[in-house]
């Protein structure tokens, strides 16, 4: 299985992820890209700041990749990237790409991967408003119901 795991303080290019896992035997690449939103509960967000426990986050990406390989052995590639530092509105903060022979496994593994990494990746997000800032947690109920 081809893999690509990255914590980066520069922009995420989904094409780089796809390129890293392209495989001649794979007819499907499913990609999820999470982008930063301009509001939370009606409040205007100016930008986001992400902080990671980088060495652990990269390990956790590997662990999620192994889990995907166990659940969908046909998967031929897993690529995950997460931004750290200041991220402007509309930029990609996270991306995951999965290659597989066919679409069903690629799509299912991609959905599983983003759910897992939102639940376990040691990354913290701060929303910066005009008048302050707030750490924003991923909602646990959403993350635990990962449809496995």
């Amino acid at each position: 299985m081809r893999t690509f795991y990255q914590i980066t303080d520069t922009s995420i290019d989904p094409e780089t992820l796809r390129g890293a896992i392209t495989d001649a035997g794979s007819g499907a690449i499913a990609t999820f890209v999470g982008v930063t939103r301009n509001s939370f509960a009606g409040k205007a967000v100016r930008h986001l700041e992400y902080e990671a426990y980088a060495p652990m986050a990269e390990r956790e990406m590997e662990r999620i990749g192994m889990e995907i390989a166990g659940l969908w052995p046909v998967v031929t590639g897993v690529a995950i990237a997460h931004r750290v530092g200041r991220v402007e509105i509309g930029e990609a903060s996270v991306a995951i790409a999965i290659s597989a022979p066919h679409r069903r496994e690629a799509l299912a593994a991609c959905a599983h991967g983003i759910d897992r990494l939102k639940a376990t990746l040691p990354v913290w997000k701060k929303e910066v408003f005009a008048d302050g800032s707030e750490w924003r947690e991923n909602r646990e109920e959403e993350e635990l119901d990962d449809g496995r």
Binding site: Y53, I114, V123, K125, R136
Partner: protein
């Protein structure tokens, strides 16, 4: 504390902000567990109190249970609820 064990506890996100530092050093008893480290860091830094019950602990880059024994030189981390994605 004689025969104690000195460990570094790394702090992230809101925990780092609450203490104003990315890591703190602690002196723990030789047979201390991850839970003991959490108690000790909470006593040393009361500003962490609201966060600790909701935080997870990692030792040497892996999530661990409260009862996990610690060894000298371990890298312990307090991980508040995550917000990646």
């Amino acid at each position: 504390m004689r025969d104690g064990m000195r460990v570094v506890v790394r702090l992230f996100g809101p925990a780092r902000e609450a203490v104003g530092a990315g890591s703190v050093e602690l002196e723990l008893a030789p047979a201390a567990t991850a839970a003991d480290a959490v108690v000790a860091v909470g006593e040393a830094h009361p500003s962490l109190a609201p966060l600790l019950p909701r935080s997870r602990v990692a030792v040497n880059l892996e999530y661990v249970d409260a009862g996990t024994p610690l060894a000298p030189g371990d890298e312990i981390a307090i991980l508040p609820p995550v917000g990646g994605g």
